[in-house]
Amino acid sequence: MGDDGRRVAVLGAGMHPWGKWGRNFVEYGVKAANDALAEAGLAWTDVQFVAGADTIRNGYPGYVAGATFAQALGWNGTRVSSSYAACASGAQAIDSARTQILAGRCDVALVVGADTTPKGFFAPVGGERKADPDWLRFYLVGATNPTYFALYARRRMACYGATDADFAAVKVKNARHGAANPNARYRTPVTAEEVLASPMVADPLRLLEICATSDGGAALVLTSLEFARRHGHAEPVTVEAVSTVTPTFPQGRLEMPDLATDSAVAVPSGRRRFTAAVVQAAYDEAGVGPDDVDVAEVYDLSSALELDWYEDLGLCKEGEAERLLTDGDTTVGGRVPVNPSGGLSCFGEAIPAQAIAQVCELTWQLRGAAAGRQVEGARLGVTANQGLFGHGSSVVLRR
């Protein structure tokens, strides 16, 4: 089970429901933080470190999320960190808090991420920014986030024979899972027909297969294992690994927001996707492998992307994800359920909160507290996500 000194306990998880509420992101974060503290049986004044995941679309308070949440909860002299890593921001905040605990610099840390989002496609930072790849991709090509998701989806079709029906089936599965989740934004089951009848956005991906942008908040209370035991938590959920590795040159898959890949003339490309390397580093740190996984939360930015993750997680070989899905293995009740929360499909993405929300879900799953969507007997869970600029994350949790 690994060395106790390498593990931290998750004593509390909390969320503000996802939606399009239009209120200040700070409010969502504080609600989530208070819920997580209540679940942990701890007070704000017990917290020694606050790790905030930043939002870059809410002015200065969003850039300094750690301080913003600490001030909102009441200045308490804690140390803070504010992390940004696109979709992996929440995992970086978890890593920041966890590392403080592992280094013996604190016993009780609070991790918080929350966002208020604009409508429609994410647009880049304003102004003329010809040195910013994220600006250039919109300016020169009109390449939105769904553009990249669709390129990957089409590639799956060409390489592995994936079909529209497969992509729709991912959405149908996740919508069914999310219907039971009180924190999800979309809680209505959908049929494959409804998915396939929704408007095409970026061929071959349709509106119901592409993740929306949402408001929401998520928080975790992490403590040293010794603190947890001293406070009556004999067998808490623990964080066994956090991977936040970057790509290895040459990065051969076109990644958001780049307009080109690295060139592989001098150094040959590796065989596996970057996203697989992110997960492998988490498995390695935790000393586990795909066979140990009971439940997973992955970043279904599009329905098709969930299939890539099955392979990156090692749940099946490359090219076999469609079969894993259609065999029902990744449905709650199947061999290794994926996105029992409903995933991004049912949440929409609240960027800095999302990777934290994945860990909230697994915490509840491993405690047997995920009413209506419970993966029975789950003991080990893994999260995975990927963001712009070479960011990705994977967290392994165990009980």
């Binding site: 090509v141 009109g142 001098a266």
Partner: protein
């Protein structure tokens, strides 16, 4: 620099990324030490982590490549993208350049849609209008199928 029929000046939407003229090509930097190509051009250090060179040659990338994947933009992308009114969807392709072993994203020329494309198709680089203002026509590279119209049926996404 040329002028359109309506008197507008044609200018690149971005400087130094591609040539215009009869056989337009993308411009890249090639590391003098390890040979790595870099597009967009202009790095001040080599992206190969094992190479510490800061000297680059300016080179042209091959004008033909194979479609690695493709999609389209059914809804108008947000600014800084600029589109003529009314909005017309367009296709986008990621194209693998075999000699340089890299993939470059770009729009596909106007009348070619997803139904006309397939992974592995050969395409060629052209320079075409990205957007216009009162005085200028702004140019960008686009991908154009080498043999069009022969491969438009039987897609799974039909």
């Amino acid at each position: 620099m040329t002028t359109t029929a309506s008197g507008k000046t044609r200018v690149p939407a971005i400087d130094g990324w591609f040539t215009t003229g009869d056989e337009p090509a993308l411009l890249a930097s090639r590391c003098e030490a390890c040979g790595t190509y870099v597009f967009p051009p202009g790095p001040t250090w080599c992206p190969n982590p094992a190479c510490s060179s800061t000297a680059f040659d300016e080179v042209r990338l091959g004008r033909r490549g194979r479609v690695w994947s493709f999609t389209d933009a059914r809804y108008q992308p947000p600014p800084p993208f600029r589109a003529p009114e009314p909005y017309e969807p367009f296709a986008i392709a990621a194209v693998e350049l075999v000699a340089e072993q890299l993939v470059v994203l770009g729009q596909v020329v106007g009348d070619v849609g997803c139904d006309d494309l397939a992974v592995g198709d050969e395409v060629e680089l052209v320079v075409d209008t990205l957007f216009e203002d009162d005085d200028h026509e702004y140019l960008v590279w686009k991908w154009k199928p080498v043999a069009t119209g022969v491969d438009g049926e039987g897609r799974a996404d039909g």
